[in-house]
């Protein structure tokens, strides 16, 4: 039977996972290399809701990897990933931050790609509005950007 590990979020929620599942996080891997007997890992920068999603992701990908690298598996993973990322923008950003903190590279790539999709085909003003960004460009910057504007397919 595989060894278990308890991950604790910053709001005290506990998640018991197989060690192999948790080792997808390079950060946890590093911690366990330092303290080999550790059975519980406190994760101060991730809340329970986000950690639940990360654990869900790691469990699915661990199981999928065990099944082998076939075309069918790849297609199933892609489909699952798509459904997994069907979340609100704030949840997506929390997942990005958690993946970055926990060093789960595949999840970070996936979530960054999803964030990029939110930006795709948007105008500058739409990006500002969507992501709550203030325009702090100077008149000089604006003038320089104007000269490049003819390049856009708008």
């Amino acid at each position: 039977m595989n060894a278990k590990l308890t991950l604790t979020s910053n709001d005290g929620q506990k998640f018991e996972v197989e060690k192999e599942v948790a080792l997808q996080s390079q950060m946890i891997k590093g911690m366990l290399e330092d303290i080999q007997s550790a059975a519980s890992v406190p994760l101060a920068n991730v809340n329970g809701q986000t950690l639940a999603k990360v654990v869900e992701y790691c469990k699915f990908h661990y199981e999928a990897t065990k099944k082998g690298d076939t075309q069918k598996t790849k297609a199933a993973i892609k489909k699952w990933d798509k459904a997994f990322l069907n979340v609100e923008q704030s949840v997506l950003f929390d997942l990005i931050l958690a993946a970055n903190y926990l060093h789960v590279e595949s999840l970070l790539q996936l979530t960054c790609q999803a964030a990029a999709k939110l930006i795709c085909n948007k105008t500058t003003q739409e990006i500002r509005d969507m992501f709550n960004i203030e325009n702090d460009l100077t008149a000089e910057d604006e003038a320089q950007l104007l000269s490049e504007i003819e390049w856009k397919f708008e």
């Binding site: 920068n45 490049e148 390049w151």
Partner: protein
């Protein structure tokens, strides 16, 4: 200016899931969570997934992104084609260079077919053309001159780019023709003006007879010609092979001689056209072009290796045939 000097009021120093107060939370819910809450490294990774034209939009969002978008564009481009190729279009910034590289203008297949050009398409479409298959080879078996055009003009896309490798007949012309001249087969060859007195322009190969284009450049088998039209200029980069042999006229016939000129030739003309233009090539019988601008660096390398292997096999075959003939002669 250093990136860290820029004011980023919403930026967080560490990766952590946020605990916002109720009012801020509500405000963010309405306007969306700020992208600037993500750490620098993560934002960098997000932008890496964006194509050049989306990076243009991001570039104008705020000062922080103005700096970051340019850096990301440079990294993406250098990773894709190598530094030398990435920097080949001079006087453009990295965002513009990335947009140029991602521009893969297709061909007017309908007009091309009417002109008897034959097109070989890729079996699997490359990433740049997710819907239709891309053309990888163009051939002409009929007597010329025949005109091949781009599918779109500058009215539909501000940047047009072709990258073609010459494999067949060395007589060829490359340039642009005004849109309203696209049905005149000799528009490029004879540098014909339209009603607004805007002329087709470009260059011809040194061996082309009767061309009225303003420039003649030595081009030969395996020469790569890249044509670029931007709102600013019309540019050509001609890259000749290292061991190229050019065809020259001698006593009313063409002879081959080793090419000793510069490997790379450039031609730049200001884009003064008021009306839209299309990319154009005039070709003659037995013309053949490999289309490189729709392929990735790996695919171009693969194509090069295939061609080299085919040449080697042909040389071996010819050698074997010659040896057999010699043996028969001895017998």
């Amino acid at each position: 200016m250093e990136l860290d000097d820029l004011e980023r009021p919403l930026k967080r120093a560490r990766s952590e899931t946020v605990c916002v107060d109720e009012a801020t939370g509500q405000q963010q819910e309405e306007a969306g969570v700020s992208l600037l809450l993500l750490p620098d490294g993560v934002l960098h990774q997000v932008l890496q997934w964006l194509p050049g034209l989306d990076l243009f939009a991001v570039n104008s969002v705020c000062r922080y992104f103005k700096d970051l978008a340019g850096r990301v564009a440079k990294e993406k481009l250098v990773r894709a084609v190598g530094y030398k190729q990435a920097a080949r279009w001079r006087d453009y910034n990295w965002l513009q260079r990335l947009a140029i590289e991602e521009t893969a203008t297709m061909f007017d297949l309908e007009r091309g077919a009417a002109q008897n050009f034959s097109f070989t398409e890729t079996p699997i479409c490359p990433a740049v053309m997710p819907i239709c298959r891309a053309v990888m080879e163009i051939k002409l078996e009929q007597p010329g001159p025949r005109l091949l055009l781009s599918d779109v003009s500058t009215a539909q896309a501000p940047v047009l780019r072709w990258k073609l490798q010459l494999r067949g007949n060395n007589a060829a012309e490359f340039g642009v023709v005004p849109l309203d001249m696209q049905d005149q087969t000799k528009a490029l060859h004879k540098c014909m003006p339209n009603a607004a007195d805007e002329r087709a322009t470009g260059f011809s190969s040194a061996i082309t007879v009767g061309s009225l284009l303003p420039a003649r450049l030595p081009i030969m088998k395996d020469t790569v010609v890249e044509i670029l039209v931007t709102p600013r200029e019309i540019s050509f980069i001609v890259t000749n092979p290292e061991d190229g042999a050019e065809m020259v006229w001698q006593n009313n016939s063409t002879v081959s001689r080793a090419y000793k000129g510069p490997r790379e030739l450039r031609l730049q003309l200001p884009n003064t056209y008021q009306g839209p233009v299309k990319l154009a090539v005039t070709a003659w019988q037995r013309a053949a072009f490999d289309v490189l601008h729709t392929l990735s660096r790996e695919e171009v390398e693969q194509l090069r290796q295939q061609r080299a292997a085919a040449q080697k096999a042909a040389a071996l075959l010819a050698g074997g045939r010659a040896a057999r003939m010699a043996l028969r002669g001895q017998q």
